[in-house]
């Protein structure tokens, strides 16, 4: 079945935006404002899309998936707020506007990140469309993959600037960005079923690991082949910041071949499932993205 991924992404992003806003109805004050400043109105919502797609792939509904999808976007937003802080990457701009701490000050930005991370688990536990067991599975996966053995662990490796080979770089990205992508896919599964087979979890994990890697290689390629206007941020920033990327270890042509091979691996990992069209086509579509 052919799916127009771009249209479906836009649809899911719009639903996610509506739902994220609803979570803040009736809240006031600068902290809630700072949280929304960084959470709303930006990003492709690829994590939320993965959650919804995997839920549907296993017979779940959008309603069941949406709270988990929103939780993923909250964790993603918190990670960007804390990443941008002076103690970390010290970035003044994010998605074309001042980063959270530039707009609200460091203390509020720190608390906004903490609060979004915390809220993600509230939103998961408040998902009334799924069973208690599904909530337990979702919270456990999300916490494990976002914590010191997952995303935060990747951040720590990145800070240490100790990457010395392509294998180490892949390990860094598997944690820093891959772990949350894996959580997004698995939470989709858990929205649809609270009794998943181990083989299914394993296949989805393989898809997610490959997708995360392909995504990163594509980012690395765009940083040297795109222009700032298309990309929405300065190009060449990796080289400027002396950042290790896939292109530190291979030529541009080799990176294109590598991205293609890794994407095929993602598609292959879920090919046994009859309804894997959307995630499969997403993986292919991501190779063509311009930003």
């Amino acid at each position: 079945m052919f799916v127009n991924i771009q249209i479906k992404l836009t649809e899911v992003a719009a639903s996610v935006e509506t739902m994220l806003k609803k979570y803040f109805e009736g809240t006031t004050g600068e902290l809630a404002e700072a949280m929304q400043y960084s959470l709303l109105g930006g990003g492709k919502r690829i994590r939320a899309f993965l959650t919804v797609s995997f839920a549907e792939m296993f017979g779940g509904t959008v309603e069941q998936a949406m709270p988990f999808a929103c939780a993923l976007e909250m964790i993603h937003a918190y990670s960007l707020i804390h990443d941008d802080l002076p103690a970390m990457d010290n970035d003044d701009m994010r998605r074309g506007k001042p980063s959270c701490h530039k707009q609200y000050g460091e203390a509020t930005a720190l608390l906004a990140g903490d609060s979004l991370l915390t809220m993600a688990f509230d939103v998961c536990a408040s998902n009334t469309y799924v069973s208690d067991r599904s909530v337990r599975l979702a919270v456990k996966s999300l916490a494990m993959l976002a914590g010191h053995l997952g995303m935060c662990g990747g951040q720590e490796i990145d800070l240490a600037e100790s990457v010395a080979s392509y294998e180490e770089l892949k390990h860094l990205h598997a944690l820093k960005t891959g772990a949350l992508i894996k959580a997004a896919c698995l939470l989709g599964l858990y929205a649809a079923t609270d009794d998943p087979e181990a083989n299914t979890v394993s296949a989805i994990s393989k898809y997610a690991e490959a997708l995360g890697l392909a995504f990163q290689i594509h980012d690395d390629i765009l940083d040297v082949t795109s222009d700032s206007e298309t990309l929405g941020k300065p190009v060449g920033s990796d080289a400027k910041n002396d950042k290790k990327t896939a292109l530190s270890y291979m030529s541009l042509d080799e990176a294109v071949v590598e991205e293609d091979a890794v994407t095929r691996r993602a598609v292959e990992a879920i090919s046994e499932f009859p309804d894997s069209d959307v995630p499969a086509q997403l993986a292919v579509w991501l190779m063509s993205r311009k930003n």
Copy 2:
């Protein structure tokens, strides 16, 4: 029934310490080290004690309560790490040793806080001694009370330094410290039952709110009546930092009377329950603590 609270506190603290250490078995690296640096070996573990006590009060076991108790201590530890950061209170020392960022740098301290907060939910969801429904209730309460409508919200009010009355000060502390104390008590209940009566939740909440307030008043009193050696930190720091305390709005004598009245309210709130000895006696014992 008379209970020696001090002995029981010491026992629970020892069990919590053992269990917290177990969660880190097999982990390596500076991030996990920084997490343990701030989590282990300190504090009275009053939150964990409340969780265990309320679980036992409603027929639950220590095994059922312990993962939730550890989660509470992880959230408490994360909040102290982030509070101490230069962007917040900028404290160089904590419990007689360098604060986390002084020991490991700001970036790692930030990530250690994030990771402990995240790990708390992993530990809750991994509690195999309770039902899936108990996990859902626990995660929901903990996230709600620790987030922007609870503890983080209290932090934001504290930062704004806008407290203009004793009522506003009480509201600040109800969020900043009271919310997590309430979570500690409620998670004890949820460890024992996954179908609590609304009246029970309400009574425990009243106890927790009063206990949190009494605890804060006692801290305010100690800051002017104790000596640095007994207290383990400099006395008079509230006045020095121009911090609003109960004593900004009443005399020392009045504060002692207020603490006593609030403590009675805590005890009264749970007096209908036959097995409320331990939490009741804890409230009374806390009035006599020297640090």
